[in-house]
């Protein structure tokens, strides 16, 4: 894989014991992106393995899809960091590494910081909170960072976004920090240490909440069925109604109901104030049509309505097939698997993920 862009770099990913899983998912995603781009990524696991090996969803009994996705293209090294011999072995690997990904609290932190590798640390909370030992989950971090407050009905409980969004946003941020560290090193500069906390990344992606709260004194929050943008049922599922201010006229022409010409619906404020009546007019147009029919009719007029697809349905997406976004991986034990590649094409090239390693392989 020497022609891959990060092939000349070595990255050590330390999977210490007793680290919250939500941090591990971030660390492993950052390492996976670097590995798929060609870096030699050494995943240091305890002798009984990264617990993500046993985390759902599963591909077969005991075979974790989560682990397979997050650890493609890596090498695994089993090291017991509780023993001196293990700590010495880690220090030797770090001598030849460019950067080291690890989590707080890490028993190995001092070894990493005293090595020539640039530290990339994943934590739950900002340094200022001084809360390294506070119990944590991805869900409670979403609540803390304000993202939970944004989804659902105003009078009902707030909702998390599907997937591992707090961990993965942090993993993407850690990858960018890692790339910056490598660029600094290669330019002969001292690379800054990088620290990513899930709480900070969650707030960072949710910046409109603080921006609006500062500007107006009132925080935005979940609007549910009071929102101008609703989910409506159609013949074979659901469609998200979404449009910009300038696309509203095209949306009216698409639906073709003269009642939409009412002055009450001419402005965003008016549509929000009359959202129930508005959707009484909009909904029937969707009822007899499929998601793909709706998407084709809407796109023909430049209206960005969004048909809702499940992950399973994306396996049949024509767009994804045409771009080769979903790779086929022939796994030595699990057979044919399909999974997303890195979401970039580089001069038309994709980066095919290689099978995640067995423990110590």
């Amino acid at each position: 894989m020497t022609d891959l862009p990060l092939a000349r770099f070595t990255i050590v990913e330390v999977n210490d014991r007793d680290v919250p899983i939500c941090l591990r998912l971030a660390t492993s995603l950052a390492g996976k992106i670097a590995a798929d781009l060609g870096a030699v990524v050494l995943k240091i696991e305890p002798s009984d393995g990264d617990p993500v090996r046993h985390a759902p969803p599963f591909l077969a009994p005991g075979e974790s899809a989560l682990f397979q996705f997050l650890n493609t293209s890596k090498l695994s090294v089993a090291i017991d960091l509780r023993r001196d011999i293990g700590r010495t072995a880690l220090a030797r690997l770090l001598d030849k590494a460019d950067v080291c990904l690890f989590e707080e609290p890490a028993s190995a932190a001092s070894i990493v910081r005293n090595s020539p590798a640039t530290p990339i640390e994943i934590a739950a909370f900002p340094l200022e909170m001084n809360a390294a030992s506070r119990p944590v989950s991805e869900f409670t971090l979403m609540a803390m960072g304000g993202l939970l407050h944004m989804v659902g009905e105003p009078e009902r409980k707030p909702l998390r976004l599907g997937g591992h969004q707090a961990s993965y946003a942090a993993g993407l941020a850690a990858f960018s920090g890692l790339a910056a560290a490598l660029a600094a090193r290669e330019a002969g500069r001292r690379a800054p240490s990088v620290r990513v906390s899930l709480a900070e990344v969650t707030q960072w992606v949710n910046w409109k909440a603080t921006s609006a709260a500062e500007a107006t004194g009132v925080s935005p929050g979940r609007e549910g069925r009071q929102s101008e943008f609703q989910i409506v049922p159609c013949a074979d599922g659901y469609v998200a109604i979404v449009y910009t201010v300038t696309q509203w006229q095209a949306a009216c022409e698409l639906i073709g109901d003269p009642r939409l010409g009412d002055a009450r619906y001419a402005s965003r404020a008016g549509r929000r104030a009359n959202v129930e009546e508005l959707y009484t007019i909009l909904r029937p147009w969707f009822q007899g049509k499929t998601r793909l029919e709706i998407q084709a009719l809407a796109q023909a007029r430049g209206v960005p309505f969004g048909p809702i697809f499940s992950p399973a349905e994306l396996l049949d997406s024509e767009q994804y097939a045409a771009r080769g976004f979903l790779a086929t991986l022939h796994h030595s034990k699990l057979g044919k698997l399909r999974l997303p590649q890195l979401p970039v094409q580089w001069n038309g090239r994709s980066f095919a993920p290689r099978q995640a390693p067995e423990l110590g392989a």
């Binding site: 990060l6 869900f139 409670t140 946003a169 921006s211 935005p220």
Partner: protein, 380 residues
């Protein structure tokens, strides 16, 4: 490369930034925060839409006062050059010859029609790294599809896994537009990787980012699991999570919502326990017992908690609140060297210092309307 050891990682890198709203403009903001010199190109005929959606009033200069624009475009210099004008296109091509990176998130084809596509700029500058960020990517039957924020919650799969159990799916909505946020976190890292390659090999790259793919990538394990089990249940399950005993938000006595995760097993009386206590008490009791619990914050709560905010917010020279960093470097957040630019604020400065234009050339461009400092669009 010889460089002082204490310079920031991207010192010496120059970015031609056509980025709009979050996906594009924030990718280049992340590069600016790492030390790159970012030249944001707008025009009087086409403002970054954040100047418009965030306008606070209709008084003169409204286009320079949008909080969303200010949040996202700090640490950049701003130029207003009409890229639909032949003369404007010529000036931009001259700028591209002096840049290392282009970031753009126009609809596909816009820059090609202006003679500013990758194939055009590669001839002028073979080292250019050209990051094209679009809804669906640069190829495929849906390449011209439009999307707006939560369109991609829907089409990426995220919405299908979000919502109350047994009810319809949910989107993140206009106040979050989640898929727009994460693309810049990924794109910045890949652009930096390509800058390293360009330095090493002398060859740039066309980087084709699909925002929908970035969002679907965050569901990698779900897509993978569905590939071996097409009947896998994929629908909203509230706040529950596979493999976790009990997880939900509970309303406390004072009306605040408390998020709680019980990894193994469940506690039957948790809901009534929360209802009988104020949020902060219930949280403390659970955390004391080693249970992850956190109050559900809104934007106003976050503004008041400096420790929790960490480095995610910063103040510009005028005291305005702006976006900070998603990570810290050497323990610190971002230094805001300059506030977000007024429209066309640095056009003359950059043309003079970077391209060697004289005052006559600069005023000629302004008189011809190629450059400007006011919007020429009506009805915004």
């Amino acid at each position: 490369m010889n460089a002082p050891a204490n310079e920031p990682p991207l010192a010496g890198v120059r970015v031609l930034d056509f980025g709009l709203l979050t996906a594009g403009a924030n990718t280049s903001a992340m590069l600016a925060d790492l030390g790159a010199d970012v030249l944001k190109i707008e025009s009087g005929a086409y403002l970054d839409p954040f100047r418009v959606v965030g306008k606070p009033d209709n008084h003169d200069g409204w286009w320079n006062r949008s909080p969303q624009f200010r949040f996202t475009n700090r640490n950049k210099r701003g130029l207003a050059i009409n890229l639909k004008d032949k003369e404007g296109q010529r000036v931009i091509r001259e700028l591209a010859a002096e840049c290392d990176v282009v970031v753009e998130n126009f609809r596909r084809g816009v820059l090609e029609r202006a003679g500013l596509g990758y194939e055009d700029l590669k001839i002028i500058n073979p080292r250019i790294v050209y990051a094209a960020i679009s809804s669906q990517g640069d190829t495929g039957p849906e390449r011209m599809n439009v999307s707006f924020g939560s369109t991609l919650d829907a089409t990426s799969g995220i919405a299908s896994l979000t919502g109350y159990e047994g009810e319809e799916p949910r989107i993140s909505g206009m106040d979050v537009n989640y898929p727009d946020q994460i693309v810049s976190l990924f794109a910045a890292g890949v652009v930096i990787t390509a800058i390293m390659e360009a330095r090493r090999t002398g060859e740039g790259a066309f980087l084709d980012f699909s925002q929908r793919e970035v969002a679907s990538f965050t569901l990698g394990e779900e897509i993978l699991a569905a590939s071996v089990d097409p009947h896998r249940r994929q629908e909203p399950v509230g706040n529950r999570e596979e493999g976790i005993g009990q997880q939900d938000a509970f309303r406390c006595r004072d009306g605040r919502w408390l998020a709680v995760t019980l990894v193994g097993g469940s506690v039957p009386g948790l809901e009534s326990f929360c209802a009988a206590h104020d949020g902060i008490q219930a949280m403390a009791a659970l955390v004391d017992r080693g249970v992850p619990a956190a109050l559900c914050n809104d934007g106003a709560d976050l503004l008041q908690d400096g420790a929790l905010v960490g480095v995610t917010l910063a103040r510009d020279g005028g005291g305005g609140l702006v976006k900070g960093l998603p990570y810290r470097l050497d323990g610190h957040g971002v230094a805001i060297e300059r506030p977000a630019p007024d429209l066309g604020q640095h056009t003359a400065e950059v043309l003079r210092t970077l391209l060697g234009y004289n005052d006559g050339q600069i005023s000629k461009l302004a008189k011809a309307g190629v450059t400007s400092t006011t919007p020429t669009v009506s009805g915004v």
